[in-house]
């Protein structure tokens, strides 16, 4: 009789049997690398070139398309290769290059634990935005600390979540300097580990920060108290610039 593990193996084999890597995968990877090199070259060129006049037909942010001659193919991008696959859904809007990542949106980060670098990753939805920090600055890597900001109407979500934690008897009220906050261990899709230690910090009537430690990063510390102390130090160092 096959074991349960064997049954899983068989089902996974059946499920993936139809999958085949695209035959042009190598070409796509090479092309992607070339495109990035070209983009870097173009960015460099743009940084040292003064553009005298924008070509007719280009749209700027906030402008309205008007009838008129369309830019010719030679004036725009090269035509896409015929074997290009449909585009993958685009990433959410980000802040772009944040340098050391200590200032983003309307907040500045005054303190980060040792060895942490900006992860080169951020998301900006306007009234809620976030970035994270890890050891190697790799945007595809694990995060160690994430800071999620909520502003204006979005702060309602934090009010609701803290109320639920309070009602469930989870977490505790804390004071960080002259600001109030709420300390709790959340479960945000992690994997049976011990949860995500989080400090919600009230930075103003219309601005809250949610500071999270990855459950993996937590293991760098000696225990719960050490983690909470670091969360509070990060919270103390957060200043509103809005």
């Amino acid at each position: 009789m096959p074991t349960f593990e064997d049954e899983i193996r068989r089902i996974m084999a059946d499920e993936t049997a139809r999958l085949r890597a695209a035959p042009d995968l190598v070409e796509r990877i090479m092309r992607s690398r070339t495109k990035r090199r070209r983009a870097r070259f173009a960015a460099l060129a743009a940084s040292v070139t003064v553009v005298a006049a924008a070509p007719i037909g280009y749209l700027t942010v906030g402008s309205v398309a008007t009838p008129g001659p369309q830019p010719t193919a030679s004036a725009t991008l090269e035509p896409p290769a015929i074997d290009d696959t449909p585009p993958i859904p685009s990433d959410p809007p980000s802040f772009g290059d944040l340098g050391d990542g200590r200032a983003f949106g309307r907040v500045e980060v005054g303190y980060l634990p040792k060895r942490l670098k900006w992860s080169n990753w951020s998301v900006n939805f306007g009234d809620r935005y976030t970035t994270s920090y890890n050891f190697d600055g790799d945007k595809n890597g694990f995060y160690c600390v994430a800071i999620y900001m909520y502003e204006d109407d979005a702060v309602q979500e934090i009010d609701d979540r803290i109320r639920r934690y309070r009602d469930d008897g989870e977490g505790e009220e804390v004071t960080v300097g002259d600001r109030s906050g709420y300390l709790v261990v959340q479960f945000v899709g992690e994997d049976g580990m011990k949860g995500t230690p989080t400090l919600f910090l009230r930075m103003g009537d219309k601005q809250w920060a949610e500071i999270m430690f990855s459950p993996v990063y937590v293991k760098e510390f000696s225990g719960r108290q050490a983690v909470e102390a670091e969360l509070k130090k990060i919270a103390e160092g957060l200043t509103s610039t809005g």
């Binding site: 193996r9 499920e15 999958l19 085949r20 994997d191």
Partner: protein, 172 residues
């Protein structure tokens, strides 16, 4: 074409489909699996001079699995995709539905548990090798795999059999 490009092309031709399947099982979505694979191979190509002399496949696999976990966790944090839990009640599925039920249950697993199952039972990595890929201890691999199997067993309506399947035994 340079020697490095030729070697890289040969590696992709030989291993891309196998790696795509790992990516699919790790993330549960075909389009995202293709993106994960391409991203991982781009990174590999960038470091090919360094990677080619070792075995490149474990490197690519590690990038795929960790990127899948990282993306899933970010989505959870961003509340773009709510985390689902496997069905609470066991339901024995007809054989024709088993794949669907298993894949649903696999997708519903927390990302590291899912990765542990894929690495252990699809890639047939040892617990030590799985721990190396996931950057955790062997003990964590054991516990994650055990919890994952318990959930999959529940989803598939399989009752645990005491003593028969050692590391799938439900603790607590």
């Amino acid at each position: 074409m340079s020697d490095a490009e030729h070697d890289f092309g040969a590696f992709v031709a030989a291993r891309a489909t196998s790696l795509l399947r790992v990516a699919y099982l790790a993330c549960g979505d075909e389009t995202e699996a293709e993106d994960l694979l391409q991203t991982a191979l781009e990174r590999t190509y960038k470091n090919w001079d360094r990677v080619r002399h070792d075995s490149p496949e474990p490197y690519v696999r590690r990038v795929i699995v960790n990127a899948a976990i990282s993306r899933a966790r970010r989505r959870a944090i961003l509340r773009i995709i709510p985390m689902h839990r496997p069905p609470e009640t066991a339901a024995r599925a007809a054989d024709a539905d088993l794949r669907h039920v298993l894949m649903q249950a696999l997708r519903a697993l927390p990302p590291r548990q899912r990765a542990a199952v894929v690495l252990r039972y699809w890639e047939d990595l040892s617990e030590t090798q799985t721990a190396e890929v996931l950057g955790c201890t062997v003990g964590t691999v054991k516990s994650q795999t055990s919890k994952a199997l318990a959930k999959l067993r529940s989803a598939l309506g399989r009752e645990p059999v005491e003593g028969v399947i050692g590391n799938a035994h439900v603790r607590g």
